[in-house]
């Protein structure tokens, strides 16, 4: 609809930075997983999800992100979020994501973390 979803990504040292644009529903969640899997197959273990251009999510989309966090933990990696709109930060908190993934203000902060 208005928010045609898009995902971009890049390597930055040991990190893969995945940036989303638009509404994160189930289909968008699947696209993020695809992107994530590509990096995992390249032995990347550390991920930053930049949600700056996402204003809305739904719980199905976010539950797919929870699966991503699980997989990251299995491979002994890390996943952090940055640039969360207040409502998305709140949703993540309610859904418990913030217990397993760190939330940073900016992408730079996320990349600077060890």
């Amino acid at each position: 609809m208005s928010d045609a979803f898009r995902v971009h990504s890049r390597r930055d040292g040991q990190f893969a930075v995945i940036s989303t644009e638009g509404y994160i529903n189930n289909l968008a969640g699947d696209k993020i997983v695809e992107e994530f899997n590509t990096f995992v197959s390249q032995d990347v273990k550390h991920f930053v999800l930049n949600l700056e251009k996402t204003q809305l999510v739904n719980s199905i989309g976010v539950s797919i992100l929870i699966e991503v966090i699980e997989k990251v933990q299995e491979i002994g990696g890390t996943l952090s979020f940055c640039r969360l709109a207040p409502i998305i930060a709140k949703t993540f908190k309610i859904m418990g994501l913030t217990q397993y993934a760190t939330v940073f203000e900016t992408e730079e902060d996320a990349l600077a973390a060890k």
Binding site: M1, S2, L56, S63, A85, P86, I87, K90
Partner: protein, 132 residues
């Protein structure tokens, strides 16, 4: 007659149609001078109520009926489907890493009041948000 402070919206169960409803919610809440954060909370709760009807209601008219009641100090949002209903007394609490089942918990956390009226003839969720 006084002017009914009520906006009604019917949407088909098509992917992303919940976004049309969030736009209406946004205008209504802005009209009522809700703060931006509250508006976003209403939109998120509305999305969850609508996708539940999309996913679970098995309604044969494939339509969700939404009503926005602009009251003095609060907005009442009603989401109705004519599906098969469910047992609303069985409530999840959120478990770590659970796969699904966050919708109702989110609505309750984001709104000031959420009530379910559900029967084999359908489900109605009535949610309230105060302006503060």
């Amino acid at each position: 007659m006084t002017i009914p402070k009520k906006v009604c919206l019917q949407i088909p169960m098509l992917p992303d149609m919940e976004l049309a409803a969030t736009k209406t919610a946004e205008e209504v809440a802005r009209f009522m001078q809700f703060a931006t954060d509250s508006i976003d909370e209403i939109k998120m709760a509305l999305i969850e109520g609508i996708i539940n009807a999309f996913e679970h209601s098995k309604s044969s008219d494939k339509t969700v009926y939404i009503q926005f009641d602009m009251q003095d100090e609060e907005l009442e949002v009603t989401i109705q489907d004519y599906g098969t209903g469910f047992d609303a007394s069985q409530k999840n609490s959120i478990q770590l890493f659970q796969k699904r089942g966050y919708g109702r918990a989110l609505m309750e956390a984001l709104m000031d009041d959420v009530k379910y009226f559900t029967s084999p003839n359908g489900t109605k969720v009535v949610m309230k948000k105060r302006r503060h």
